[in-house]
Symmetry: C2
């Protein structure tokens, strides 16, 4: 690490914190004085609708950066909740402004991050709008599995995926019941299985195609700090 980056970290006084499963890290509609980088554990990004339903925007995995929206805009446009115990790297919102001023190239990284998030959402939007249920599921499982591989979370062909079926259903825009039945099909056909919090995905060409994995995103996102 260069002396420059070292001083940078000290200046912004990065802090580490543990949060337990179920903790609401960021809330839709609220500002946040803190931003986070996930070091450990998993969570959910989601939006709540007034009819009571919920749209899961993404699974939060280690390395993810949380709160960029609140840092740049006035408020968060979605909530983030821990699904397992998590370890996060905390820093204050003011750091963002100083970051842009003193380290323009890092500011560029932030815009890059926002663009990447935008890409993921656009991809998901196309999936929800144009693909039938089974393909959406295949794409979703394949994509999270690819992220797991990139992060080194896969052992013996399985990666931990500590969510419940309702979380996945809310992310795919499907009902819980239908999601369950599709998962059974994938299990019976030996394509993918997800039980006891462990996901296994057979390296099937069909699934990979459904997932539309662009090479860019097999690499982990570069951590901000």
């Amino acid at each position: 690490m260069s002396p420059d980056e070292l001083s940078f970290m000290q200046r912004f006084k990065v802090d580490e914190r543990r949060v337990s499963a179920g903790t609401r890290l960021l809330t839709e509609g609220e500002a946040s004085a803190e931003l986070y980088t996930v070091l450990n554990g998993m969570g959910l990004r989601f939006k709540s609708l007034e009819n009571g339903s919920r749209q899961v925007l993404a699974f939060v995995l280690p390395g993810d950066f949380l709160g960029l929206q609140a840092g740049v805009m006035a408020q968060m446009m979605h909530s983030v909740e821990a699904r397992t115990d998590m370890t996060v790297c905390v820093f204050r919102r003011e750091a963002l402004w100083q970051l842009f001023a003193s380290h323009p190239e890092r500011g560029f990284d932030l815009a890059w991050l926002a663009a990447v998030e935008e890409h993921f959402l656009g991809d998901s939007l196309a999936a929800l709008g144009q693909m039938p249920a089974m393909e959406r599921l295949g794409r979703g499982l394949c994509r999270v599995f690819a992220r797991g591989e990139a992060l080194g979370l896969v052992r013996d062909g399985r990666m931990p995926l500590p969510f419940i079926q309702q979380d996945l259903a809310d992310g795919l825009g499907l009902s819980l019941v239908h999601t369950n039945k599709l998962l059974r099909q994938l299990r019976q056909r030996g394509i993918a299985s997800w039980s006891d919090g462990l996901l296994h995905v057979q390296d099937t060409p069909g699934l990979a195609e459904n997932a539309q994995l662009s090479p860019d995103f097999r690499e982990p996102l570069r951590p901000l700090i």
Copy 2:
């Protein structure tokens, strides 16, 4: 305009250009040496799937900034096409880098823009995933109408909306036929009408609720330059 901003514009040598309806401004998967700000006319952002279907991500209206993704990432993650003749403000990609270096506060604006786009996509994702067809349509019409109002495009309660029903259907994740039938219902019930490229939306509380308009986005996006 401050002397500072003036010199800024001169340095990046902003150029104006006219493109005709149907022109592909940006292409998914390709890099772009140019970025655009829309001065006039309308277009579409969309993603193409290999099964031949298309997901419209957003309608492009005057004031929109195009190509941020290509500017920050290696390539565009969606395409942009002109639906009418357009006038755009052109500048080169290198300007982005220099922008971050020499005008950090402008770099911040770009991150802000990316975050706003991300918000819109997240909102649309929730709509596609969780709302039935009629609510999606109501929300979509109401939202574009609100943008039109903010831009001063509304006269006598109508705004120009030079798209075809297929465009709207591809944006809502609905079939063309169903979209057509829903539009008829809205027309017959006097809630909203869209024909001959003119959109009229009755100021109905129900529709407004469906649209979930947050106050932030009744204001026009601040143009970059």
